[in-house]
Symmetry: C2
Subunit: 522 residues, 2 copies
Amino acid sequence: MDVLAAGHPARGELAGSPQRLAVIDLGSNSFRLVVFTASPEGWWKRTDEIYEPVRIGEGLGESDVLAKGPMQRAFAMIDVFAHFCRANGLYGNMVDAVATSAIREARNGEDFLVRAREMSGLSIRVLSREEEARYGYMAAVNSTTLGDGCMVDLGGGSMQLVRVEGRLARESGSWPLGAVRMTERYLRGRGPAKRRQLDELRAHVAQELAPATWLRRSGTRLVGIGGTVRTLAVAAQRMEGLPSIGVQGQIVKVQTLDTLIARLSELPPAERAEVPGVKPARADLILAGAVVLREVIELGGFNGIEATEAGMREGVFFERLLAVEDPPLFGDVRRASVLNLAAQYHVDEAHTAHVAVLALGLFDDLAAARLHPGDSVERELLWAACMLHDIGMSVDYDDHHKHTRYLILNAGLPGFSPREVALIAQAARFHRKGMPAAGELAPLLSEEGDAGRLDRMAVLLRLAEGLERSRDQLVRGVGVDVDDARVRLRLVTDESATVPRWAARREAELFARAFGTTLEVD
Amino acid sequence: MDVLAAGHPARGELAGSPQRLAVIDLGSNSFRLVVFTASPEGWWKRTDEIYEPVRIGEGLGESDVLAKGPMQRAFAMIDVFAHFCRANGLYGNMVDAVATSAIREARNGEDFLVRAREMSGLSIRVLSREEEARYGYMAAVNSTTLGDGCMVDLGGGSMQLVRVEGRLARESGSWPLGAVRMTERYLRGRGPAKRRQLDELRAHVAQELAPATWLRRSGTRLVGIGGTVRTLAVAAQRMEGLPSIGVQGQIVKVQTLDTLIARLSELPPAERAEVPGVKPARADLILAGAVVLREVIELGGFNGIEATEAGMREGVFFERLLAVEDPPLFGDVRRASVLNLAAQYHVDEAHTAHVAVLALGLFDDLAAARLHPGDSVERELLWAACMLHDIGMSVDYDDHHKHTRYLILNAGLPGFSPREVALIAQAARFHRKGMPAAGELAPLLSEEGDAGRLDRMAVLLRLAEGLERSRDQLVRGVGVDVDDARVRLRLVTDESATVPRWAARREAELFARAFGTTLEVD
């Protein structure tokens, strides 16, 4: 049993009062300090971050040594991190500083580390290739529903691949195929990329990965982490006209990736940020990264790449948070996500849990009466909407249904697809009044039947909320009688429950739209 | 010294651990239960609310008694409130239930109360006219900068007026001129309002208010509370094409009010919700309320009405929160608003306070060098943006500048006008990157020079944030040298501060746009 899914306080080394962990990631492309906080109330999240595209790996491909300029930028940034940690009371095992490919493989990497440690007082550890792969795996498996498939972590210096079976890491490897390195080696020109350059890069990737024969046995699902994957996911969303609600769970299809590679190739590096979704700071690196990933897809026979916002840093944090689990995995990623978000906003647990019980009870009874398909995923999304419907009260009581939508869309729910997050957010948005509609999220809710799903989720949540108007579980349960085109609710309660009845009757119009029947409340 | 403005824990009866007060307002038009929470961390806010337009005063104008139907609705709702309080552990002096005009003045009001108390176990007190007026006054003076002027509280049954001088209540009165009452007496028809009906209503208001000769001596500023005022403020915003960021501080001009009255009069009551901003539940009452308020403006010679979202319920809460003050007033409403919002989101106080010190220091030095006007209000808005810039981190670290904007716009800042709130929110929105622009808030930022104000606020906040990159006050201060078209910053620091220098230099482009000079950082 994992700690968050069960709604229990976080355990492991982070148990007790709110605990923080600063993960410092000295990557080949960027340096990042991320502070994670785990509360005894059962939630965890990133609470701070400092990011700088230091590019310590710049020029490393040619010389095998860290160059002077990059090292100076690195020392200055490590100094900032050290200051930040001291200023924020982060010391000892509350700080975990890790260095990856560039520093690990440079001939003067050890010299650099000696000076960095001395200057900053930080204990920096160099991750082995295996450790780096394992942290990427933990990030992927704890932020998506990946059960069987493959994880790819493409950084600036190296790329890690892990084959996953039954959520466990089975095979893994690390290759010096990072985006900075490949750009410097194969795509140096200032003009558009040449066909020959791209072919050489592809051939190099294929040759390097040839020994990983297990790649072909990884199934069709590929989860990707790292800045290249996130950038490609944003670009894919723009290309497909999808609203921007974060890239968590966004799938970059093979065809979309091919189109993006074609567009990027036609532009000189300095202009690649013209492709919507590509930021200037990454414009020169994105093409090489995209080509490497495309070749991984080709070699493994994957369907595309599913992006996750979690990265190696989250892996380091999960190892600590879930220390009592072996392996350190959430029991149910989707459930853990919902409970984690709910716990951040101090909702009235007895109320939301009872709203969920009432709404799911209605869902089941109406499905049994064949008034809707009773799909199990829809049921899970309804549960999530019930658990989260009131979190917007933390912004302001007025319009809290709209604030709930905002918070869900912006914080995200790892394990759910963007479409599923949109359904949850939109059902919560309509938990008080108004006729449900997809609004700006329409491009995400384009699966057949989504309008009906949203109606059903919203009206069941509203009925349950109305029955829980006094928030004291006055209405213990609801009986459902169905005859012809009429649904009659019988409230199970010891008291008069006049207001719950009024509240429930108000939903007759939406109920009729959702289920095609009249609603009566006894 | 008031408790919130000083950043101290809330004192008075609400001191210690987080304290809650449920105010139950049994008004003539609506019943409302509002839970206020005051935290020892120094913030307070509404944390829950149940609202129902019970209309207990329905028919009261004709008969002088509470009618059977309205009383039944009232008992059912009071039962819900009692359940809610028990379910939420609110009892004894944590609940303050007050009844106003309708119940106070009905011949069977006492019978109603006896039964309501017996049934619910709630201690309901009937407010005298003076008490009701005083609570309205406390709400107005603690949620706006009203120093000299008048407060009008228009309810369903009665209207209270309080003349304010030097923030103190000087004269007051209460009249049975509420919106429900006046609608029933003067505007009963189902068709458009007749000229004669409106004239009779106006004459009645004038006659009733004639004894309040002090009304003419109240100056030109009128602050209005109650649902009628809020509805008119929303309608005014729609009419003027302003973005909807709440009505706090929105001024309804006389001319706008006249246009609204003319439009509403032309429509039958059932269709008045067609006027944008008017909700169906209030469509039948809004015209009478608007006419009463228009007559108050006429008689007092006011400039218009300034809406506040605080109401009598907030007055009851403020009396408790500010119990150690006499009278119970915030020392500085604007300052208290900013600190209250900041405290809700656990910002790093040492960091935000130092960002404010650095930004305001730059503001002052650049004003001394005549590079900008050095307006004191702009300085205060810059301070507010500094204090609040990081609150969006509570939603998600990514895009926290955008979340900050959302939280500021949606929670509101009592004491600031919508335009001022927009400037603060937009400056915070651009505290990390991007070229500042008004975006959707453009209609609010239409005063001459607003674009320049926003640029100055954003770039000074960004410079300060860059200098505070390590969040440990490494850069203690900044010296400013100005010659010709060049500004040179000298960082006061004991250490190398390489990164703060980089960060500050990055702002040269925006600095040039804001101040018309180049920026150098030594």
